[in-house]
Amino acid sequence: MDAVLDAALRGELTEEQCFRLVGRLWTLKRVMYYVYGSWAQGLNVNEFPPSVAYLFGKQIYDDSTHEMQYVDEILRRRWTVTQREAFRHPNCVFTPASRLAYFIFALRALTNYRQSIRVAALNLGAKVIELAWLERLGRSFPDAQLRAVFAGQVAETRSHVLMGRLIVERHVATTVDAGLCRHDHQVVRQNYLFALDEIATFTLGIPEQAGAAAVPSYVD
């Protein structure tokens, strides 16, 4: 994402590349429903105090708002005329054979874990990195409207990081759980960076070289 911002600061990011960036970020945000939908089922078994369910509900609502902001921007700029068209556009379509899908499918696979462990993985892994690039883009992205969109998401993303820390500090008690948190956090972090790299190269139009996408070392 640093490369995308650097290109934008040099004035080299075209309208089409901005569409690719926003389209990919919209795709990333909206497929989180796929993850949250399966994770939320675990909350129905009443395994955790209500505050955890509340915090997680707020996080789903916030991520949904962020997704809406991205598609609002796509429609406002007439990159596509309707939301239905946006879903099908190559810049926004969800492709199962992609790094983004790899990140999402791996997150969804954490469904069988405790909520405290998967929140540790997502909020203290991916969300921390998201907060960093959101802050940077929200501070200096040249396009004022997109800068406002990025900056507007910073407060909520920061709250997700903090609520992740709170849940982990309160509910991760055993050595086994702590070890799982550390492992899954590392996996999610790597997968997220893997997906972000794809978003950036797609945005900048850099062709992916054969063999450039190495399978992470933790995959058996």
Binding site: M68, D72, L75, T82, Q83, V149, G152, E156
Partner: protein, 98 residues
């Protein structure tokens, strides 16, 4: 064919709005996309009058569950629940034939 009705500016009253998103969802469903999320940290819903067709379209008023949350910009008259004239076919934009 009758001329389309003149658009009357409306807005969301944030003191009454529950942010349930029904207006957003229905506006998306009919491809008007006039209800948007403001790009600021509060992320409140706003009506984009460049896209809104009121009184030609009253879909959001029909779905909004919070009385007083959508109002006329001039005068502040509440449109939720929809006033009698909102049900009048004459004021509606007509669907073009398929």
């Amino acid at each position: 064919m009758a001329a389309p009705p003149t658009v009357i500016p409306i807005r969301i009253d944030h003191a009454a709005c529950t942010e349930c998103r029904m207006c957003y969802v229905v506006c998306r469903e009919i491809n008007l996309n006039a209800v948007v999320v403001a790009p600021d940290p509060l992320h409140r819903f706003e009506i984009d009058m460049e896209r809104c067709l009121y009184p030609g379209c009253t879909a959001c008023l029909m779905y909004c569950p919070a009385p007083g949350s959508i109002i006329e910009s001039a005068g502040g008259r509440s449109l939720v629940p929809p006033p009698p004239e909102a049900w009048s076919e004459e004021r509606r934009c007509k669907r073009s034939a398929p």
